[in-house]
């Protein structure tokens, strides 16, 4: 016996044992490295996006003293008055020694063209303002905004920066008088798209996304759940059923642009639904989301134990009563989780929307399902291609908002799974 015992602890076995331990340690470290790399990429993504984007939530404003003299409003149509001229004249009163045409142009370019529209809206809402003088904060031009946020280096030669020396002097003068200030950028959350970064907002795109997803949810959820119930509970086990099942699983992996092409051919060219509307977008995304929802719904129906069904049959319930009174309520949490994840994917989709004309410049905020609209990821795509530098930070801010929505939706899915999950 003794020699055998000794052989267990012999050098050879010790070596083997050591190798097995080493393999385990190596695997553990490989795993830790993989996770660290993944987390580092994620951290890099968040830091770069938030670092670029946080400044877009504030916007530079300039305070002007506007003088709404009565002679500007000779025309009874209030939208015809020269609001731009009023803004310009108040800039001239602030800097009376600016005289040459070129300098005047530089001076006027300090404030955004949005100032005139703001004034117009104020006067239209309250015509009693005509004839009065008051102080008004108007948005500054995007170049001024970039200067205030430190994105323009004033030490560069004058010809290669967008803020000229004389403009820099004016801004410094305004700053000393407390007439320039960074304020919360409400425009970003209330306006539609614009070619002027200081007037651009994501509300139009957010609303477009909302309408599109509303259609998707209303169509994909009932159809998906009904299909799943039929396939799981009622469908006969034939070759046809198997064929349908394989196809649904394949559809879930089809690239989304294909659904866009399909939507273009059927919904727009054949049915004649207007292009660029949330209605057609929602229909296309429904096609894309359906397989995901069906698969998730089937999995959660499958996880309801057969004993529930047998018990229901045992007390005399019909097939349909069994399904709708017992199986469906128990499977619903899993179905909802799958739906939310499918919707989150639909929210982040751009490629199919490209084909149906939702990648478009749309200023007006969509008010119904048939108004032209874009979606949040499309807005990001469009801004990424704009030459103005101020769009870089606005783009990152839009990404922050989109990520916020996605994280909220996924968190809701996780929460529902934990709260309603039934352990058998």
């Amino acid at each position: 016996m003794a020699p055998e015992k000794k052989s267990l602890l012999s050098g050879n076995h010790n070596k083997l044992l050591k190798r097995r331990y080493m393999a385990e340690i190596r695997f553990k470290w490989l795993g830790i490295t993989a996770i660290t790399i993944a987390l580092a990429f994620l951290a890099f993504l968040f830091i770069s996006i938030i670092g670029n984007g946080y400044s877009a939530f504030r916007q530079t404003f300039v305070q002007l003293e506007v003088n709404l003299e009565k002679e500007h409003f000779a025309d009874p149509d209030l939208s015809r008055a020269d609001y731009g001229g009023i803004i310009k004249s108040s800039l001239r009163t602030m800097f009376p020694d600016v005289s040459s045409r070129k300098e005047k142009k530089l001076l006027y370019s300090l404030v955004s063209s949005g100032g005139a529209f703001k004034l117009m809206d104020m006067v239209k809402q309250d015509p009693k303002l005509i004839g009065s003088r008051f102080k008004l904060w108007v948005p500054a031009d995007d170049d001024v905004d970039m200067l205030m946020k430190g994105a323009i280096d004033i030490n560069e030669p004058e010809s290669s920066r967008r803020i000229k020396d004389i403009q820099y002097e004016w801004i410094k003068t305004l700053e000393r008088g407390g007439l320039v200030d960074l304020k919360f950028n409400t425009t970003f959350f209330t306006a539609g798209d614009s070619r002027e970064p200081e007037l651009a907002g994501i509300w139009g795109a957010a609303k477009g996304s909302f309408y599109t997803l509303l259609i998707t949810l209303l169509l994909a959820f009932p159809i998906g759940v009904a299909a799943a119930i039929y396939l799981e509970e009622f469908a006969p086990d034939t070759a046809l059923t198997a064929f349908i099942e394989v196809n649904i699983n394949n559809l879930a992996a089809v690239p989304s642009i294909i659904f866009g092409l399909l939507g273009l051919a059927i919904f727009i060219n054949f049915w004649g639904i207007p292009r660029s509307t949330p209605l057609v977008g929602g229909l296309v995304l429904t096609l894309m989301t359906l397989p995901t929802i069906i698969i998730a719904a089937r999995a959660s129906i499958k996880s309801v134990p057969p004993s529930i069904r047998e018990a229901a049959f045992g007390v005399g319930a019909s097939k349909i009563q069994t399904v709708f009174h017992h199986v469906l309520p128990l499977a619903l949490p899993g179905m909802l989780t799958g739906t939310i994840i499918g919707m989150a994917r639909a929210l982040g989709e751009t490629a199919p929307l490209l084909m149906i004309g939702m990648v478009a410049f749309i200023v007006d905020i969509p008010g119904s399902l048939t108004d032209p609209a874009t979606a949040l990821p499309v807005q990001i795509y469009l801004w990424a291609d704009s030459p103005e530098r101020a769009f870089v930070e606005r783009n990152s801010a839009a990404i922050i908002v989109l990520l916020g929505f996605l994280i909220t939706m996924n968190a809701a899915a996780v929460y529902m799974r934990n709260k309603f999950e039934i352990k058998w």
């Binding site: 063209s113 290669s160 002027e196 209303l218 049915w271 292009r275 209605l279 410049f361 032209p372 030459p387």
Partner: protein, 347 residues
């Protein structure tokens, strides 16, 4: 209960589908077309939407070719009213328009766009000739004996002894882009014509010449950087040895980090492009469906806004965005055409 809820939801959506005004009147202008004209057309559309009582036009960026395809597919509210283009309409496209009943088209030239080669400000400014551009970027170039051979040039110094000894690395748009079309047509073809053998070929066999002049090398010296010009600007900052090809408005906005290369002795400045001295510039257009004027509200007003001096004039807001205005006489001619809604003559 839940089943009923689902049914109700279905019914609601079905109702929304049925009542959707598929062929009802459209009360906004629908514009498609070139991504080069997009940044200018959108400014006009926004200005028009804010100052008029009409809705802001919807502008899709589909590329010039895609724009014509949609534009020429017919007359009626489901088809776009205007298409933007960074090149003139082709006769094949006019033919397609005619076949689909789009008979009268108004052509409006709006201005010019310069295509620039630029590099990072960390490196010295580069001076090129069109011939250098062709020699550096063509797939096949004439050798010393005049016969075509695969492009052997690795560095700019190989191309022209006066140029710096750095590897040729050019970031540019992919073949689907209108900017690329214009670049090969103006810069590459112009450069190819400087070779005696190639200009002889042009006279003998135009098609063979075009094939040589328009084919960009694929051995890695020319890097297709996608349609996003911002991305090219960023890559140039990261790599001071690379050159990038993009539109003038991006140079204009990023003049603190990149500099335009001098081509044939002319720097890509606003003035040089406007005077026609800078060789790589192209006209921009839009095309209007005459049958839609009066049917879709606001088209005439949009045209008036676009062709007004405050928009496309030398001091206008489009010039601020980087578009190069046309000379006075040309502007007047096109503005008059627009006022009379004069359709273009058949090609």
């Amino acid at each position: 209960m839940k089943g009923k809820g689902l049914l109700a939801a279905c019914a609601l959506t079905a109702a929304a589908l049925v009542t959707s005004p598929a062929h009802a009147n459209r009360d906004y202008i629908s514009i498609v077309g070139s991504s080069t004209v997009y940044p200018f057309a959108t400014v006009v559309a926004e200005q028009y939407g804010k100052t008029s009582n009409f809705k802001t036009p919807k502008i899709e960026s589909t590329g010039s070719g895609g724009g014509f395809k949609l534009f020429c597919s017919g007359v009626g509210v489901e088809h776009p009213d205007i298409t933007n283009a960074s090149r003139a309409v082709k006769s094949s496209e006019i033919k397609k328009c005619m076949e689909n009943g789009v008979k009268e088209i108004i052509e409006v030239k709006i201005g010019y766009d310069g295509i620039v080669l630029a590099n990072s400000k960390k490196s010295p400014q580069i001076e090129l000739s069109l011939k250098d551009i062709f020699t550096a970027l063509a797939k096949d170039v004439p050798g010393a004996d005049g016969k075509l051979m695969a492009n052997p040039h690795k560095t700019w110094k190989d191309v022209n002894p006066e140029l710096p000894d750095v590897a040729i690395e050019v970031l540019g748009p992919p073949p689907t882009s209108g900017t690329r079309d214009a670049f090969v047509e103006l810069a590459m073809e112009g450069g190819a014509g400087k070779f005696e053998t190639l200009s002889a070929l042009k006279k003998a066999d135009g098609k063979a010449f075009t094939a040589v002049a328009h084919t960009i090398r694929e051995d890695g010296a020319y890097i297709e950087a996608g349609e996003n010009d911002n991305l090219i600007v960023q890559k140039l900052q990261a790599n001071p040895n690379a050159l990038g090809i993009f539109g003038f408005s991006f140079l204009d906005q990023n003049a603190d980090v990149v500099q335009g290369s001098i081509v044939d002795g002319e720097a890509p400045t606003f003035e040089n492009i406007a005077d026609g001295k800078y060789p790589v510039s192209r006209p921009l257009f839009f095309y209007v469906k005459k049958a839609h004027v009066g049917t879709i509200p606001g088209i005439a007003e949009y045209l008036a806004e676009f062709t007004s001096e405050k928009a496309w004039g030398p001091e206008g807001y489009l010039a601020d965005k980087g578009m190069i205005p046309m000379p006075d006489a040309e502007r007047k001619m096109f503005a008059d055409n627009v006022k009379e809604l004069k359709p273009m003559a058949a090609k």
